[in-house]
C-alpha cells in the first residue's frame, strides 16, 4: 500500500511551512492596513497614524482589538447562515491562494533531504488561482445578499459582474503568457525566469509580455475591488457597499481578506511577470553562500518585490478617482478584452513563425 504511506517528516515540514506562510501573510496584511494609511497620509501632506507605538506601528493591533470588542450585530431580517458564511468564505479564499506561490528555491539539508518552499506544486497552478479567486466573489455575493439591504445587494451585484467581466480579460492576457512558458505550474514559470539576462533578452516575463502585464495589472485592480475599481464599496454612493450591515470581527474579516488578497495577488503578479524570487547575478550569489542562506536571500528578494507592488497598488488607489459603472464595463469589454485577444494572436504568431 504505497499510497497510504504517510511520511511524518513530510507532514510536519508542510505544516510548519503552511503556518509560517499563513502567519506571514496575516502579518503582512495587518501591516498593509497601516501602510495604506501612511501612504494616504504622506500623499496628502499629513503624518498618518503615529500615536500607538513608534511610527504608529502598533496601530493594526489596536484596530484589531477594537474590532474584537465591538458589539456583534446580526440583522433580524438577514439570512443568518449565509450572513455568517460570507466573511468566512472571503477569508478562506483569500488565504488559500498563497498555497501555490513558490516563495523561494528548494534547498537541500545536510542529510540530503530536499526542502521545498512551496506548499503545493500543482501542475495547474494558475487555474487553481483563477478558481479560488472566482470563489472569492461568493464571499461578497453572499454577504451582500444575506444582509437584506438594497445597498449591499447593489454593491454585490456590481462586484460580481465586475469580477466576471475582468476575469475574461485577465485569463486571455494570461493565455499569451502561458503560450510562451508552456506550463501552468508556477514553480516551472519561475524557474524559466532564472536570473535576469539569458544572453539574448531579459528573462523576466514582463519584458516579454509588456502588454499582457498591463492588462493583467488592470484586471487585478478590478479583481481586488480596489480603487479605481472599488465600485463594490463605493463609499459615496453605496455607503459601505456589501459590508454595510456587518459589524465586529465579521467586518474585520472582510477588510482583512481584502488586504490578504492584495498581498497574495501581488505575490502572484511578481511570480508570473517580475521573475518571482529571481534577481540579477543570482548564480554568483548562489556560488558564494550556503544553500539555506541563498534560499533566505531569495525569499527576501521576493518579499521586497511584493512590498513594492503593494505600495504601487496603494499609490494608484490614492491617486485615481473611481470609475463610473458604465465606464468600468466599457473599459473591460470594449478595450481590455480586444486588446488581450490581439496580444494573444500576436504572441501566437510570433511563437509560430519567428521563434519556432
Amino acid at each position: 500500500m504505497l499510497l497510504l504511506q504517510i511520511h511524518t517528516a513530510f507532514i510536519i515540514e508542510k505544516i510548519i511551512l503552511i503556518s509560517v506562510i499563513l502567519g506571514g501573510s496575516l502579518g503582512v496584511a495587518m501591516y498593509a492596513t497601516w501602510a495604506e494609511r501612511k501612504v494616504a497620509a504622506v500623499m496628502q501632506d499629513r503624518i498618518g497614524p503615529n500615536r500607538a507605538g513608534p511610527f504608529g506601528l502598533l496601530q493594526p493591533l489596536a484596530d484589531g482589538l477594537k474590532l474584537f470588542f465591538k458589539e456583534e450585530i446580526i440583522p433580524d431580517r438577514s439570512t443568518r447562515f449565509l450572513f455568517i458564511l460570507g466573511p468566512c468564505l472571503a477569508m478562506l479564499t483569500a488565504c488559500m491562494t498563497s498555497a501555490i506561490v513558490p516563495w523561494g528555491p528548494d534547498f537541500t539539508l545536510a542529510n540530503g533531504h530536499v526542502v521545498s518552499l512551496q506548499v503545493a506544486d500543482i501542475n495547474i497552478g494558475i487555474l487553481f488561482v483563477f478558481g479560488v479567486v472566482s470563489l472569492g466573489v461568493y464571499g461578497i455575493m453572499l454577504g451582500g445578499w444575506a444582509s437584506n439591504n438594497k445597498f449591499s445587494l447593489l454593491s454585490s451585484i456590481r462586484s460580481a459582474s465586475q469580477a466576471i467581466s475582468y476575469e475574461l480579460a485577465m485569463g486571455i492576457s494570461l493565455i499569451a503568457l502561458l503560450m510562451m512558458t508552456g506550463s501552468l505550474s508556477l514553480r516551472e514559470i519561475v524557474a524559466q525566469q532564472h536570473g535576469f539576462w539569458d544572453g539574448h533578452w531579459l528573462t523576466w516575463n514582463v519584458f516579454k509580455q509588456p502588454l499582457g502585464f498591463l492588462i493583467f495589472l488592470v484586471c487585478s485592480f478590478a479583481e481586488l475591488n480596489r480603487a479605481p475599481f472599488d465600485l463594490a464599496e463605493a463609499e459615496s454612493e453605496l455607503n459601505m457597499g456589501y459590508h454595510q450591515e456587518y459589524s465586529s470581527m465579521k467586518l474585520g474579516f472582510y477588510l482583512f481578506a481584502e488586504y490578504i488578497n492584495l498581498f497574495v495577488s501581488s505575490a502572484i503578479l511578481i511570480t508570473l511577470f517580475w521573475g518571482g524570487y529571481n534577481f540579477p547575478f543570482m548564480d554568483k550569489v548562489a556560488a558564494g553562500v550556503s544553500p539555506v542562506l541563498f534560499s533566505v536571500i531569495c525569499v527576501l528578494v521576493l518579499l521586497t518585490k511584493v512590498i513594492f507592488m503593494i505600495l504601487f497598488f496603494m499609490a494608484v488607489r490614492w491617486t485615481l478617482p473611481r470609475f463610473r459603472y458604465d465606464q468600468l464595463m466599457k473599459l473591460g469589454w470594449r478595450s481590455l478584452i480586444p486588446l488581450a485577444l490581439v496580444n494573444m494572436v500576436i504572441t501566437g504568431a510570433v511563437i509560430l513563425w519567428v521563434i519556432k
Partner: protein, 171 residues
Amino acid sequence: MEKLTNRAVAVDRSPMTFSERLYFPAILKGLSITLGHVFKKKATVSYPEEKRPFSPVFRGLHVLNRDEEGRERCTACGLCALACPAEAITMEAAERLPGEENLYREEKYAAKYEINMLRCIFCGFCEEACPKDAVYLSETVMPANYSREGFIYKKEDLLIPHPQKQEQGNK
C-alpha cells in the same frame, strides 16, 4: 453677464483624443503628482508635543491684573460688564476698609467678580473698556471642564498670582 474674476476657465467638452483615451499618460502624470507630495512639508502639527504660536492679537482666557505692589487694580466700576455684548461678566462692589490698602489700589474694589466662560465670546471689549488696565485677555486657551459650574470663573481663578507672595513661595 459680467465676469466676477478673470480666473474662470471654460470647460473643454471636445471628445477625448486617442492618447487621452489610453489613460496611461494621465495616470502616470497623476502618480507623479501624488508621489511628489511624499517629499513635501507636512501640514500636520503634532499638537501636544508641538504648539503653533498664537497671533499677536490672540484673545484667550481673561486675567485680572495687579499693580507693582501686588494690589488688585479692579475698582468694580462695571464698565467691562456694560461693554460685554454677551453679558458674561457680573460683579459686586465693596468699599475698602482701613488697613486693606495693601490689598486694593482704589477705595472701591470688586468683592465678587465672575465671568461665565460659556457666554463669553472673547471679543476683548472688556479689555478695551477697562479704565484701570485691570482686565486682560491672555494667551491661554480656555480649558475644558466636566460641569457648567466649572466654566464660571471666580475672582480667585482670574487674578494673577501676588508677585511678592509668589517670591516667598518660591524661596
